[in-house]
Symmetry: D3
Subunit: 321 residues, 6 copies
């Protein structure tokens, strides 16, 4: 872990550090000279940077989400710090310590994965069990699952966020199928495992969290459905009926057409998964909003777009002990 | 329990039974003579009835939801059975065995109530505990709670339905506050107990399930809030902050303005209650739809209005044993 | 072709013909005896039928969409004709002349297919061309394409309807990519060919036009995407970029999330396909509405649900010659 | 009244005045030092202020909406004036002349109140009359009514605004019940008096106009309903029917669920009140928009969010005399 | 006025009366024989009629909304009366007493018109005054205005209904411009006079109330605007500014795009007219709903589509005398 | 053409050029001195300007959209260039070379007009042909048509844009009426010619593209309808039926009420025109978005408001040659 992060920078620092490019664009001064606008990031925040010399040559050398080694000087401009770049060059990502650049779950990734595996092991249906094992025994898949975020911005947008969210939804589904014991638990648990699996390919998590081309054009719902479909095609005699039902769980989990579900839930197991998923997202948004609105001197936040309301921050966590 | 119900009637029967009036209206034949249209009900179904003689006199003697003793003859008209009324007179409802007229929960009411009390007893906050006891120790309230339906039509529309739904939501909240342990469990459990309590006065459950005047003009959300408010005014030093927070739980539990919530959930405990309530309603609608669509020879029902979709009936309850 | 159709039946006919079962359900008379309600169809219309004897035994012998040979008598009941069934038995569908049972396009199927192939042949991109050939050289696929309807109810709901609609959309795309010559014509034409291909499996067209289990649970958009995906996996070196772009054409062709598109059109080629498809559907609905509202003595139809307006019928086809 | 207001400040002024805190938050410089951002207000406008020294200590001493005595210097930063605070301390609000801090109605408050009382006196129903007197004879209530604003931002957001709006709605209702003479005038006038009464507690009007905790969590509709309910409980024999009808007037006055009405108007008197209220709001928004868009050199304003349109400013008030 | 109306018919009557054709269509019996379905009307109601003989010949002789002299016999079919037609022939409408066929306002038409003229006379602006006189001095226009309904179905759907509604809106505007004295009264009153004037040509009121071709294709908003435009073109020097402002009043009076207003109200006078119009429609719908739901034995009606709610019928008109 | 444009300005330039005023407003410094804010434009962009001396006198001398000759100095303020005005005076627009100030179509205007005339000439119906000639032979109309933009902001917002868009829609309609040969081609082509004609008066195109008073208050749909109506009134015996049908084409071309169409398309010709128009707008927005988002280093743009999606920029124009 390196010693110096963006949050530590002060005016007039001379710095030489590695950053991740968030955005880059080529501008032109009124006088016609090209320059590069960059937004650079590490795990503590982001800072803008300007390259004034050889901008058009350098622009072509930099990839859209490259890791770059930058030396330069920290300036104040319009009351915000920015970097005036002296030298900049791209680095290979295999030389990079990712946790320097992206926020990470506060939970223990391996413990979470163990618990997820344990819940999976309780699925009794042999076809669903084979399907789950197909993924759990795929080391590359597991490696990605442990790193992927659950969203780019709104919730669980950190390394391990997808695992954390998936496990949370599986736990809720475990509880609720205990409560509604007439439902098909195997279908619900398996559906919960796969519901957001497409996010592994929707959001590129090697560097920064950007939507991939497929993430934009196809979307995580269909990507996830396709991953399951491919695995099923390798399992002998997987019943068509189960395939269609599980497929429906994934395709309908966003609950409404206007949220991007191509079909809406048509049986109780699918509606249950939708509510478990949606609840977990909402609870995590509330938590995040409260955390990022400490110290404002008011009991309420401003209106929060995703929740369409102001948020009340003053519920005491435990009434008594 | 009586021996003969509507579902047993056949053409040409001479009958003499007690029914509940569902609807009554005064019509006039083309020839200008008044007659009464009735819709009569017992717990097995409903049947229409016509009173041709002395219609205007009798009409005034019958209340809108009276129990009536009817003798007459069963006729077939346009391929449906109806009663040609010979004699009809209103009865006092205290002479009536209600379970002859309204469907009833299949669960044991006293067991459900015991479990509900047990969950209430785990609420540690002393003010919430006093408030719960205020209601649980009120025999008249408990009697009503055990009988009330949770809705007129859509879900849990039977004697004991409100208790069944309330208990189910409380169980779910119990589980989910275990999962989200940072939330204020006391607030969630207490809110769950009270969320639909206004339905006791919204829907008249002595005879038939009709919306009362207050049920229509004020609505169960506000009625319930008012019941809690009145009880709180009798509890010494009940903190304003808790009052506002619990009030918000009740007022926001329908989740969105367009569903009749005057405010939307502004903290995590309130959103959790909304999801628990909504999920329980949806699961019970799915179950009811599947049950009432057996034997149609198709894997899917027709479009169901409340769910905005066709329902798939073929999920097997348990994949294996 | 048989000599006698439903539209020819008159009261008191003794008939013995083959029909397709549209709906079947098991009822019980008030007296507790089971009977079967059927809705039977041939290409000229539908008629209801009742089986009064041995209903529960026979009910189990009849499949939901079977072809059945029925003998019985035509009766009038509530001013509509129905069949009182004497004998009924299921037939194998391979003994059936389908065009006796389902309406058929008025165009020449082979001519349409030839033109469709010809437009496909103009696609210059070698990968798209391989993909198109993959389907066009699959006899089973071509056989199904020639028979499938484009919808169950709203438009092109007849044998050959999918082919007719697909060809129409391809022609429009051909014209419009001539007009907007900067667009990628190969992508548009290929997308047009595949946009509704999933309907082959969404709607079962062997007997009657019913949604299949997959049609309901997965939907034609995803089914079509999956068919293309499977074919692409067999084409060597098919570029990922083209795959994502073509996939997006199929997934977004319904234009808006609320119409069931999991993603909305993100480039001009996709928006063009959406408009071409939607226009062709709308024009065909207008035509169908005008045709089915002749002889009503008014210049306008009643409100048409799919169009959200009344329709004006009096445009003269050609102002002059 | 003091001699110097925010609108008079110029760069480099040394000032020492009392302000109302609108917003406060604690920031940190890049170098890690805490500072306080304030937004200060008097009746002529607002100005930002920064406290650079002892920020964390002072931050805790300042309440969210305190009146503060501030001495410091007026600086220009990014072309806007702000105060660099030298010293700051909170004052008790009873030492404050409120009209220095909040805008005030241009009407005469006492004259408005007299007219309002006069309209109330025409209500003939004895129960409604008792209810009105309950409030009009409560000095504390009257004091608050004369000061409350009708909204935080959109309309009548000034001292006396609630009184001005309520009186305007009552006048309109008086006129319209003359026009629609078959309506129950007493119910309409009484409903108009109470429709927004909850705003007295929804918006805190002692200092600044901020939503109170109850204002946010419960909302003015329910607060107002509760105030009326409490008063009715003290009136002997107040008829249940009138209580439900008047309650409905208050609860439904926002007209639609999506505007926060828990029930929609179910009788003509309620719909009339809704229109009178809504019209008065809209007219006042139009007036405010025109006033704040003088001198822009165009006949139209930019799009106004609350009205969802641009506003035309050039109607001449009186065509001729 | 004739002696015998539809509401008096009883089974087996031999009748010979004049009716208005509401609907006509040509059917075919299962046996292939054509017959005519008619819906006939007089002011007391409607009745269906069948022509069994020479149906195709007679069908061509009857216009879509003809007055017809019918002789035949009253039969009962499926419990409803209908006419079996013996002879039928069309009549010229100038021989008809219209009030036998269409409901009529209960107000005095001439008194209403006098009051409307009186309000118009208070318009001081000379151009608006000329414009009003242009219409008021046009006898043909006045004749039509006195007869037109204000709508086909929803409100004021009777002879004189447009006059009644227009006068009511003008009275309200008169009152409200007194209250909001800063508004341009001349513009509001003139706009109120013209706002629905296009309904004269939208709904054909000579026989039955049917939308005309222009009523459907162009709509009353634009028709009314065009009538005003044509009149203005004949007034010397009518100012462009006034023309645009008055035009906007008419075009925007339905308030929202989704209600068919091509532009939304952009100044206070236009919003006031919209509210006055909308309120008058709503009040008249409430009145109509209550009137047509007497004697149902419930305090509430069923859900009313236009109001999106059930209606409470029990408000007493006057609390006391 | 002048030698120096806004895009060439650099800091400290002394300039003396002609500009078009986009916006002007009168501000006041904190010290109470008035100054003028201007936004000035030429065809290469816009720049803000400040007049500090004699501001209130000069303000009155400048019209809202005047051409002004300005001398002054280019300064940098908050990192953007602005003009500190020395002297400013209005010019007559007849001395101005418009193409210095407004962007212009890249197509040849006369060639486009020739093609448009040619398509018009194929309209066979003699009344439509007369109507088209009425406009095409009106030199003033043609001059305006060649200059008008098709929109202020969204699409075709340049000189000649209306002609370019109209021609494009006519070409598409020409193609599609070839494809749907049963439609009335004359009606479609004539409707396409007139559909946006009202934009000639909606948007003032002599200087800048601003909505006129009529453009705002009446809107281009009604303005266009009125232009056609006036022309028709001068054509002898123009059939009412054709007038209503063509009127409907214009009034309904925006397709939905919420887009400002006062009526929705009621026949196939109208729906076809709507799709042709809407498609052409959408394609041109996509093109414009891609062009203005070059060089951002990402395959996708940010969310585009008009399209409600991000746009994918990487479709290659031609797959191969």
């Amino acid at each position: 872990m390196r010693s110096r992060y963006i949050s530590d920078f002060v005016e007039n620092d001379a710095i030489s550090e590695v950053f991740l490019i968030d955005e880059k664009s080529l501008g032109t001064t009124r006088a016609g000279k090209p320059y590069i606008n960059l937004n650079l990031r590490d795990k503590t925040g982001s800072i803008s940077a300007k390259v004034w010399d050889d901008a058009d040559v350098i622009f072509k050398q930099l990839g859209a989400s490259d890791f770059v080694e930058v030396s330069g000087k920290v300036e104040r401009y319009q009351n915000r710090l920015q970097i005036k770049v002296g030298a900049i060059r791209s680095l290979k990502s295999d030389k990079i310590e990712m946790t320097d650049f992206l926020a990470t779950t506060e939970e223990d990734v391996d413990e979470m994965f163990d618990e997820l595996e344990k819940i999976c092991s309780t699925v009794g249906d042999k076809y669903f069990q084979q399907l789950l094992q197909h993924f759990l025994s795929d080391d590359e898949f597991v490696r990605k699952l442990k790193k992927a975020p659950a969203a780019k911005m709104i919730h669980h947008s950190f390394i391990g966020g997808l695992l954390e969210h998936t496990l949370s939804v599986m736990r809720i589904c475990d509880m609720l199928t205990g409560h509604y014991s007439e439902l098909n638990r195997d279908l619900v648990i398996t559906g919960a495992f796969f519901h957001d699996i497409g996010k592994i390919d929707e959001i590129e998590s090697e560097k920064g969290f950007n939507y991939t081309r497929e993430g934009n054009l196809i979307g995580h719902v269909i990507i996830g459905y396709r991953m399951v479909e491919e695995a099923i095609s390798e399992i002998k005699d997987f019943p068509d009926k189960l395939y269609a039902e599980l497929g429906h769980m994934i395709l309908s989990h966003q609950g409404k057409l206007e949220f991007g579900a191509p079909v809406v839930p048509m049986f109780a197991e699918a509606i249950l998964l939708h509510y478990a998923d949606d609840l977990d997202v909402k609870i995590s948004v509330f938590k995040k909003v409260v955390e990022s609105n400490r110290n404002t001197g008011s009991e309420f936040t401003d209106r929060v777009w995703e929740l369409d309301t102001r948020v009340y921050k003053e519920i005491e966590k435990r009434q008594k002990d």
